[in-house]
Symmetry: D2
Subunit: 396 residues, 4 copies
């Protein structure tokens, strides 16, 4: 997407070579989304490198505008963004809700960063300060995590490109060119207003058209239900095929404290990738448990849930009728029917002011929030949360 990406220092090279980082090659950025958009096979490895590339560009532009950013700070900021997603496991969203419940990917990320830091003689100290927002130059943190960070610029473009939903493309080149620093904080110059509007709309579109696409939801929910069922069976001592490390997480209930105190959990976690999950699910297609094998076969053959999205609550009568139909057809209990019919909610805010602002540097040198700087009030509307109800059920 960006042509050649250059690796500027030997420390960065060593981090990329580190097994914790190489493992990202085998973890898809968008999980099961490829079942809807077949091109979406790009991995967290790509995204991490891409975000680092944008960091290099951004720092260069800021330096050209007269801001001092040292070589050490540049390297550290590159490392911080390179590792910003290092804590993700395979199908992260699904796993965090099922098998690996004790601890979040942000927490695992910090543990792994500390480990890599040890392996590399403490050379990540500054990167970790930036990442934890304890470094004095706040704008470096804001380039990594904010309403308009390089993480988002990269993933929106990358997800658009590989999914083929080209409408999600944003002009990262132009936005980066218009970044500036004011009072130590990251800001966007006034002539970037229209590009920011476009960025927010693109983000909104990507949510509803890709990340929360109803067939994507169907596939991800099916994975969640499969992992839940597998866990349930494992808890009751049922034998399940799995790779040893995957088995570790299926058969052990690992608390937050365990994760920090017992090294074995993290050691296993860093070996887990998409292939453990997918290879096991294929084997489970033959498992004697009706629910597990049915769900696994459905996922493998892409017979996904039907998903209905609505602003209103799903119709209770419809749910009841479908449930009874499923109970009879599959000859299962009403409790177990929740593997085949269930409701949930999905949510998105295009511009979430609770986690930070996009500040515009006006020509007169004032700062204004983007919602005020724009000559149009539509951005207010984008700052409102949108929640929708979903109803998922097996087509039978």
């Amino acid at each position: 997407m960006y042509g050649f990406i250059s690796i500027k220092t030997s420390l960065i090279f060593d981090i990329i070579e580190h097994p914790y980082f190489q493992r990202l090659r085998y973890i898809k950025q968008l999980g099961m989304t490829h079942l809807v958009y077949p091109g979406a096979l790009h991995t967290r490895f790509h995204h991490a490198l891409g975000a680092m590339h944008l960091m290099q560009l951004a720092i260069e532009h800021l330096q050209n505008k007269g801001h001092t950013i040292t070589l050490a700070e540049t390297e550290a900021a590159c490392i911080a963004i390179l590792l910003h997603d290092i804590g993700h496991g395979p199908f992260s969203h699904a796993l965090e809700h099922t098998i690996v419940q004790g601890i979040s990917h942000e927490q695992i990320g910090k543990l792994l960063m500390a480990k890599i830091n040890e392996d590399l003689d403490g050379k990540l100290a500054l990167a970790m300060q930036i990442f934890n927002n304890t470094y004095k130059k706040k704008f470096l943190y804001q380039l990594i995590a904010g309403q308009l960070d390089l993480d988002r610029l990269d993933y929106l473009n990358r997800d658009s490109f590989f999914s083929g939903v080209t409408e999600g493309m944003v002009s990262s080149d132009r936005i980066i060119k218009l970044l500036n620093i004011k009072n130590g904080n990251l800001v966007v110059e006034e002539k970037g207003i229209y590009s920011i509007e476009k960025f927010l709309i693109a983000r909104r579109l990507m949510y509803w058209q890709v990340y929360l696409h109803k067939t994507v939801i169907a596939a991800e929910q099916m994975l969640v239900k499969i992992l839940n069922r597998a866990r349930e069976l494992a808890n009751t001592g049922v034998e399940l095929f799995a790779t040893p490390i995957f088995k570790h997480f299926l058969y052990n209930k690992i608390s937050h404290t365990d994760f920090y105190q017992q090294q074995v959990h993290l050691n296993n976690f860093v070996q887990l990738d998409d292939s453990d999950v997918m290879a096991s699910i294929k084997v489970w297609c033959q498992h004697p448990d009706f629910i597990l094998s049915t769900l696994c076969t459905s996922l493998t053959q892409r017979q996904l849930y039907k998903v209905e999205i609505s602003n209103k609550q799903p119709d209770k009568h419809k749910i009841k009728a479908l449930t009874q139909h499923i109970v009879q057809k599959f000859n299962i209990s009403e409790d177990d029917s929740s593997y085949f019919i269930f409701t949930d909610t999905i949510n998105n805010i295009a511009y979430n002011t609770t986690v930070g602002n996009i500040n515009i540097l006006m020509k007169n040198n004032d700062l204004q929030d983007i919602t005020l700087a724009s000559d149009n009030s539509f951005l207010d509307a984008l700052a409102k949360s949108v929640t929708k109800n979903i109803l998922c059920y097996t087509k039978i």
Copy 2:
């Protein structure tokens, strides 16, 4: 942009070969915009062919959805959109405000269509009906002229592509795929909502970033002032170099009625293109009239007006001071200073409901205006007109 464009019938081929149409090769779509975005050299010839190509795609999709559109209607719709801008002259906006004031490009377009129709034995009858919205199938007209027509889809993408402002790209492929017909009118299917939002934002961005870019305004206003001055001089009998057809429009005051009654005007008009204007302006750089030669030299060497855009009225004191400075520096009258300093307003509505709606065909088969169909109220804001004040003056 679209790969190969195919010409489906011999009638369409004949129209493209017609001198009136070939002349569009020499009229740039965006006038002087190339002084800001150097790539923007594309012509009305390209745009007309591109819009026809999109018409072919749109009709194919509508036919695949079960709507009957005959071969004759398809050809006529293609011709209608091919000729939708045939009435434009070079630097159309500037000329209509100066030299060719008697008649609009829409009116000239209809005259030219009638002429081509004569030359081609009346074969354009159906195309003219569609173009004039007198044909029963209203959706064919709406594909040519509406809030979401193929004209806009093509020019937004084309202008984005050639100017390099890639943020203005819209997903014409996807939008066309989601067009449908309901009660005889053109509608967009519900899953196209986010694409329409994106289209409206892209259009808004193109206005402020390209069409109303302050340096583009500077160049176009300079052309307007040059033509005004030339006309003023011509009116008082001053000798001006010009190609014969350009001279015709400089030295004659042609009323609306004249245009319809005297064939000579139209005959001259269809020979006018960018080169007449640009070649003459270059000669005027040496003209004894100080105002004319100064303006022409400025334009040729790209020393354009400084333009200030603001939501507020320009500061009267500033204008006064600048005016006096110009009067003294150039030793001209206060009246004549209006060639070097002046104010104006610019205006844009992203979604102009007064000229038609974008109707969304909901899944339940209802129709809703896009501003209601979207789950977000920001489109209301886009339907409001935005007006800004501009102050232009020569940098001295």
Copy 3:
């Protein structure tokens, strides 16, 4: 890459939904190439659909030139190309040389086609005739398998696009537009000569820059050696973790005849994909066998063989010295050192006249081979086979 791909008939839809076809989603087109070109994660699923899309275009163009191709023939040709690679397993090249030696992917492909045909009530009869080149219209076969078929046009472009080696792109649009039929055979019109030259050069470049890139060879050879070692261990009864279907192929020696006579082999084969191999290799990193665990760890952490490519025979003294070094360092037998140092040859012909010609239809209606039709003799050179020697060894 091509925008939307349309699925024209319900039979084609059913084939795509078939589990044999859905499985291609999980088999990467270029195996381990992503270790060199990280974007190269595209699958055989994508390529099959892409080739079908080109078939639709090609047939449309040929029909427009007046050649009769019926709806049934069109559907059958689409199906034939959709299934042309159906017999491939994961890491096909490596597996065929190690675990699945009894039978080629072409033979498996024909078995699977016959199976799908059964499942779909014999509706694939015509597609199978075309695929086997027993149908009277030879050009349909030539569109699938020839020196200039749609398979090649798609994979060259797709592999270029996803690897980022944009120099391998060919103008499939233009080449397809210039296809024609003469005496029942596929030909290219004369004005396509330069495009064909470019196609052959692009193919040559893709071979040396991607398919036979030395780091790609290093990764693929490592996989071959891993599978060989696993097989060797399995043969002697050593316990190896693997998914059940992968185990089937590791522990059984399946002859060509077995494959045809015992259904179980094919049944297992169609469930095998990349994840079985990769998940097992990760587990083998901990295996007590030194050779297996060393190779698997190397592959997983991307510590690949060093590969030297040369027109000359590798230096025997160098090989001997390296071998001894490895034997000592690893404390293994000289026999076993062949897992860590070995030689081989690689080979490529840009234009292989032994498997068919590219015929040019000259303006005077004569046919000429491309090497004669071009005004330049360089194509002769491209028709010569290029063989190179490789030396691979573990860096220690």
Copy 4:
């Protein structure tokens, strides 16, 4: 094409602002080629800036490889390539053969560079040394003018992009990345061999498909004939409309010596652009001279010569028959028929070793000519000149 191009120094900015350079905005790079490839409207202004951008990239890569190139040298090299085509007039090829015969565009270029140097206080001294190949670091000159210079890399890509003949694209990014310096000369590293092969083939394709396309030839020859006729009429005192500067060249016979001794010629030359020629030709459509008006009308309405290209000499009988037909039909002399029927030759060498070599830096640090370094002998063939005969005549 390249995203944003940055202007690094104020001297470069001043050169771009200079009227001699701004004038390039109005001179199309490919003359009348847009009559065949409508997008080909890009100008010499674009190409000059693009080539400078590639120079910046190339120097950056060479510096990263450890070669010393000072800031002053960088600026001078950028200026030298920015101005490498400054001596071109409108429709350069046609004018040099007709109206401006006294002096070549290279000579005018040097005169103009000297003038700009004067205007800018001698600051172009180093740039002029590089351009004239009198500076010690020969590789800087080779980056501007050689078998593989940045001029060619830019124009091949630019002409491909704007003409839509995407097959002419070369991987300038990759080639530039593989440039190096050996013994003071520009070389390409061994792994760039396939990219160079592709570059030479792309160049060959662009010649036959664009620069020497038969309809492009038809249009350019028609322009040559028009200018010849106009000149002939002017010489005999016939009155012709033209802009004053164009008239200067039509009515005066300016020798090489005149050009150097009389300032007026150069002063007029730098004001000439496409619009002077095109505006005048349109007026000549009404000229009483039958030959002139016929040719001008043909060009304006795109009724071009029929052109036949062949390896053989055109058939004399055919020429005779066509000539007689034209003489009778138009009632003109046999002499004058040469405006409507004539023969010529066209020529191309993809790799012209007489003007310099492409040297490959082998891994063992040896230098080899590309034709020897490649493992395939086809490049020898590309180094041979290809000449073809053309026959042009008016279709009547």
